[in-house]
């Protein structure tokens, strides 16, 4: 494309112009686009444009066996894949009436919390990068890698673990694994003050992020926002506590909240959740050696598995909000319908559109990263 091929045309004098923000843009999270109408550098109107990551998961899942879909579901949310696996597995278990052994439930909690820490480190690293603080991003990504090493050790996959199957988990933990989890947690805890000094107490970040992308609690409830974004407006709602699954009702943890509902509060809630996740993991590490037994319930031949007819709605708290699966079976070897409700489908589309209006161009990246929008969940 050569510039001389373009004919500049005279426009009526105006300060308004349109800007395509993405999909190929470093300020956008993933492959996603916003069409902005600007007045000067202020956004007048924003329209989200998705579908760049559309793969037709829901259609694909109708074409494959129940067990084959286990490999498919983690791909729906790339930074935090474990809740997707669990949500689907739980749906199949409830349809079949499978009882999951206790040990498997504790291992699943461990996997979920490790995944949550990894996702949060990645997200606030990304948020730091949008305010120009690349060191935090470098640290966050490097520390996340330690967790990925743990994942690799006990599931075999760095990012997509494909570890949960209906009925339990695939493998027993390796020898001495809990010791290594505990060491990694020690290290992470020792890093938190460093993160505070580098990022959370940093005036550059505080001044940039305070007052950006504000939503009140009423707005958040009306817009259907869940997860850390809702908690940043002051409502202590967490699926883990209020609609408990696995063994979360036996674990002690708090639900951190913030009041102001802006980009700063949202990122701070993630930082506080890291502490709670570490606390949960410590309890799991302590309890797991005493819980013996099988790691999965016997399931029929997975290649000829007809799941009883029925429908079920399962909910799991992922790092971004409530992840839900609506699974319908007609008694056949494949799902009749699987509806994936990714948490980002709320805050990455309507909420982002509404919150961008009135902000300046340079704050849009911050708004998007602090909301933790995950485009593959929206597009599916």
């Amino acid at each position: 494309m050569r510039p001389e091929n373009y004919e500049a045309q005279r426009q009526p004098p105006s300060n308004e112009f349109e800007l395509n923000f993405g999909p190929n843009h470093p300020g956008i999270e993933g492959n996603y686009a916003l069409k902005l109408k600007l007045h000067g550098d202020q956004v007048v109107e924003a329209k989200a444009d998705g579908g760049y990551l559309h793969r037709g998961f829901e259609k694909l899942m109708e074409q494959r066996l129940w067990i084959q879909n286990i490999a498919l579901v983690p791909r729906i949310c790339v930074p935090d894949p474990s809740p997707m696996e669990l949500c689907y597995s739980m749906a199949v278990e409830q349809l079949c009436g499978l009882e999951v052994p206790e040990r498997a439930q504790w291992i699943r909690v461990m996997q979920l919390e490790l995944s949550r820490i990894a996702a949060h480190l990645f997200t606030f690293g990304g948020h730091a990068a949008t305010t120009g603080m690349y060191s935090t991003m470098y640290w966050g990504v490097a520390d996340r890698d330690l967790l990925l090493d743990l994942f690799e050790e006990f599931t075999g996959g760095r990012v997509y673990s494909i570890y949960n199957i209906p009925g339990g988990v695939r493998r027993e933990l390796p020898d001495g694994f809990l010791q290594r989890v505990s060491e990694t947690l020690d290290y992470l805890e020792s890093r938190l003050p460093d993160y505070d000094n580098l990022f959370f107490k940093n005036q550059v970040f505080v001044r940039r992020a305070k007052g950006v992308g504000v939503m009140s609690q009423e707005q958040a409830l009306a817009w259907g926002v869940t997860g850390p974004n809702l908690r940043a407006t002051g409502l202590a709602f967490d699926v883990r506590r209020d609609d408990p699954y696995l063994v979360y009702d036996q674990l002690e943890f708090e639900i951190p909240t913030e009041e102001s509902g802006d980009a700063w509060a949202r990122t701070l809630v993630r930082r506080l959740e890291l502490v709670q996740s570490i606390r949960i993991l410590r309890q799991v590490v302590e309890a797991l050696p005493d819980i013996r037994g099988p790691i999965r319930a016997p399931i029929p031949n997975p290649l000829a598995w007809n799941v009883p007819a029925g429908e079920v709605y399962t909910r799991v708290e992922s790092s971004k909000g409530e992840t839900c699966y609506f699974v319908v079976s007609n008694g056949g070897p494949k799902p009749y319908r699987v509806h994936v409700r990714g948490p980002s489908s709320m805050h990455a589309v309507q909420v982002l559109e509404k919150m961008s209006v009135g902000s300046r161009i340079e704050d849009i990246a911050q708004t998007m990263f602090s909301l933790d929008a995950c485009p593959p969940e929206v597009d599916r």
Binding site: A48, D49, G50, G51, H54, G56, E58, K59, Q63, L65, L221, A222, W223, G224, T226, L235, F237, D242, D243, L303, A304, N306, E311, Y313, R315, E322, C324, F326, V328, G332, P333, Y336, R337, H339, R341, S345, M346, V349, Q350, V378, D379
Partner: protein, 189 residues
Amino acid sequence: MSKEIAHWLDNLLEEIEGIKVRRKSSRRVRVDVPADALPALLELLQGRAGYIHLSAISCVDWIEEEEFELVYHVWSYESHSLVSAHIRIARDPGVYLSVYDLYQPAAFFERDIHEMYGIHFEGSPNMEKFILTEWNGPPPMRKEFDSEAYINEHLSWQNYNPEWLQELIAEGGGIIIPPEEQRFSQKKK
């Protein structure tokens, strides 16, 4: 506490005609209503029972019965329970009312169902395409849309069948259960 609420909810739901309530577990309630009673039900749930969070709207295509099933999942932050309201609408012409004025998140789900199933929601703020803006085919999630036939027509891909695998299969090894049998395990039934 939760038992009281459950009892109170059951009484509340009896106000609507033609309703079938099934309690599936302590936090899940399945409700079947006629299609025209759904807005009244949701209004009741939202206004009087505190079900203010619309978790999702799911659509199921029952092609043999010529019907679409729409499922509205609403959650109450107070009583900690989830009501799934099921309705059935005719597959043709596939038109229903929007619940946007009750629940704002409905805009996204209705838009999604519109492009994936072709159901039109009257009164929804935005029925433009979002994901499939550059798609010219039929709504892809409908059961009659055969995506394998579509890709065989428009795209090319290769079956992975290298020589070394053929040799293995000739010796009786390789993939023990051929994919055809896996996929049509239904037939044996």
